[in-house]
């Protein structure tokens, strides 16, 4: 079975600045047909041809799943990141032909929930744009709490307030507004599910508090795409394909493997789906595990690595690829 996801040929139909940091991109199918239906929380992987590099970054779909004439994603510019968001902001213009993956949902709504309590931080609002649209269409019960640095960086806060009124609560860091999390979590009706998307610190905080207040783990859902972290270059032997590769400073191990012509599986490219799991045949050095998939035990064993986000420092690394 071929790896990765099924691809869609699209054209950029619009590029809209949303605020100082965020830009929205619209895609339509090149053949004019409808795009595949998706569900709230789904992402697509966008392929960026940046000179001789190909970058593959996942972004949440934020349009309504009820309208598939176009897909929309919003990207926050990261001036110190690896360059994917800068490429999108600088080089992607209406009319550009691009390739994106079919939607994949690793953050789907639990449709058994009596109520959906959503917590968003910053650009973590995007999956909730689609989820709230989906729930509102079906009369679902939800409440969204959204924290942002300043009112002007409250991406789509106005849209959400207009659509859903006081089902949306806003918190601005510069006004020292904080979610009263313990109170919020202890006052929910039975059968509520909790969803959180935002910076890692926020996700950990919410998960911790929910756990200590007795929320069962299966009612707490989170989405965190760890972007691959840059680091010192290192060499890897790929035992199955008989290749030796170098992973550059700004490159992920997965990208380096792909650049060598090997086609390993992936879905999220963010260390959460488990699809890229790879066995380590031998190693001499230190693993920098950045994933949320492997257990701590797996991390300690040094027998497995998630190449989409994890790195290595040392003399020797041989992988079963």
């Amino acid at each position: 079975m071929s790896t990765g996801t099924t691809k869609l040929d699209v054209v950029v139909s619009d590029v809209v600045p949303v605020n100082d940091l965020v830009t929205r991109f619209h895609f339509r199918r090149r053949d004019g047909e409808l795009l595949p239906t998706f569900s709230g929380g789904a992402h697509v992987v966008v392929e960026m041809r940046d000179g001789d590099r190909t970058r593959l970054n996942p972004y949440s779909l934020m349009g309504s799943p009820l309208d598939t004439r176009e897909y929309t994603i919003s990207i926050r510019r990261d001036d110190v990141g690896r360059g994917g968001s800068l490429f999108m902001h600088r080089s992607v213009k209406p009319g550009l032909e691009m390739v994106i993956s079919y939607p994949v949902n690793l953050f789907s709504l639990d449709l058994r929930a009596k109520k959906h309590l959503m917590l968003a931080g910053g650009i973590g609002i995007t999956p909730f744009m689609a989820q709230t649209a989906q729930l509102a269409g079906g009369g679902g019960n939800f409440e969204l709490h959204y924290t942002c640095r300043t009112a002007s960086l409250g991406t789509y806060a106005d849209v959400l307030r207009e659509r859903y009124g006081n089902r949306v609560r806003l918190y601005h860091d510069d006004r020292e507004e904080r979610i009263d999390l313990d109170r919020l979590l202890s006052s929910q009706p039975l059968g509520t599910h909790l969803y959180v998307c935002g910076p890692a610190g926020m996700i950990n905080w919410v998960r911790d508090r929910a756990a200590s207040l007795g929320w069962p783990p299966e009612t707490v859902h989170f989405e965190h795409f760890a972007a691959p972290q840059p680091g010192a270059p290192f060499d890897v032997e790929l035992a199955v394909s008989g290749k030796t590769i170098r992973v550059g400073e700004q490159q992920s191990l997965l990208e380096a493997i792909e650049a060598a012509g090997v086609d390993p599986p992936y879905l999220c490219r963010g260390g959460v789906c488990g699809q890229c799991e790879t066995n380590v045949i031998s190693s001499d050095g230190k693993f920098i595990h950045n994933d949320h998939w492997l257990s701590e035990e797996d991390h300690r064993s040094g027998c497995k690595i998630m190449p989409c986000v994890s790195r290595f420092e040392g003399k020797l690394l041989v992988l079963e690829r």
Partner: protein, 346 residues
């Protein structure tokens, strides 16, 4: 041109038959002279013209008769079709999938017209012409899953995906090989495969679950499974064991060719877009020995496969009682010459 639908039964007088063209398109499951367990999952893509894979959802000459049989089963036992409340959206997903695929593959028999949410579905073989609002259950005579699976061959299990597991939360199951939806409904993947006695088998299930939870939209997968059934009975459910179980003692050297049927299940796995669930259609194909052996290659090969089947496997598939009679009968059609590679007839 279109398909000529047969008038036939899968119970009582058992008039089920395959036409000669349908014999040749039968999904014979053995590509060599021995059967081995294998993880035989492959992408579910369109196959050769004239095969059961010509369309991703196959409709064949048994369509009308199978739908009539399903209606009889449901009239006796409505619990063969169940959907937990949170699965309604997945039911709409399935309705869309099946209407789209049937209309695409068989435009002379099925038509789907969409006008925003207003959809019109024409099913000529069953004489249905309904207009409804997509997403609004009150505009259909049944829930969306029941509505469309009363018009689609094969069983359907709809699985909800959550907590890294799959939950059997909806289904239409009337043509199953000895398992029961009413028993499995609401169970997760490990529960409905329990008890799993051996640790290494557990590993297999964990891998299978991982594979299934990673099924992606736009990339369905499939596998074949097989067993044997006495008489062309579609409904071999545990609830009806008293009806079909005793049939196994009725096989004689005189009636083998007519009574013993190879039963092949084409299972496919699809990600549903709105609900993010997985649907698992299990399409059952039956062929009696007399029909199967009209293809000499299949006759020779089936003889070797059944003869050499390990005892535990034969027991597991419930063949023990009549295996000697069947092997004896098939042996007369095996001249010992080699069989060509591949599944198809020569």
């Amino acid at each position: 041109m279109g398909i000529t639908f047969r008038k036939e039964t899968f119970r009582d007088d058992f008039t089920f038959k395959n036409s000669p063209e349908h014999i040749r398109r039968f999904p014979f499951p053995f590509n060599e002279d021995a059967y081995m367990y294998a993880v035989n999952i492959e992408p579910h893509v369109v196959g050769p013209k004239g095969s059961v894979l010509e369309n991703l959802i196959d409709v064949d000459e048994h369509y009308v008769a199978e739908m009539q049989d399903r209606a009889l089963v449901l009239a006796e036992d409505p619990l063969r079709c169940q959907s937990l409340p949170h699965m309604t959206l997945a039911g709409w997903d399935l309705l869309e999938l099946l209407m789209e695929q049937q209309a695409l593959g068989y435009p002379e028999h099925f038509t789907l017209e969409r006008n925003g949410d207003r959809w019109r579905w024409i099913n000529r073989p069953l004489g249905i012409d309904d207009t409804f609002t997509f997403g609004d259950t009150s505009t259909l005579p049944y829930g969306p899953m029941e509505y469309i699976t009363r018009q689609s061959q094969g069983d359907f299990c709809i699985l909800d995906q959550r907590d890294g597991n799959l939950w059997m939360d909806a289904g239409m199951v009337t043509t199953q090989a000895d398992w029961s939806l009413d028993f499995d409904i609401g169970m997760n993947f490990f529960e409905w495969h329990a008890p799993v006695p051996l640790a290494h088998e557990k590993g297999i299930f964990t891998r299978a679950l991982k594979f299934l939870t990673n099924i992606q939209q736009g990339k369905p997968a499939r596998r074949l499974n097989w067993t044997m059934t006495i008489n062309p009975r579609l409904d071999t459910s545990p609830e009806n064991y008293h009806k079909w179980g005793p049939d196994r003692a009725t096989v004689t050297p005189e009636n083998v060719g007519d009574k013993v049927h190879l039963r092949v299940e084409l299972q496919s796995f699809w990600r549903l877009p709105r609900s993010n669930g997985i649907v698992f259609p299990i399409r059952c194909y039956l062929i009696k020995m007399d029909e199967l052996v009209t293809q000499p290659k299949w006759a020779r090969r089936l003889h070797r496969v059944i003869r050499d089947l390990p005892e535990e496997l034969a027991t597991y598939k419930g063949l023990t009682r009549y295996r000697p009679t069947l092997v004896d009968w098939l042996s007369k059609l095996d001249d010992g010459s080699p069989t060509s590679p591949g599944f198809g007839p020569d």
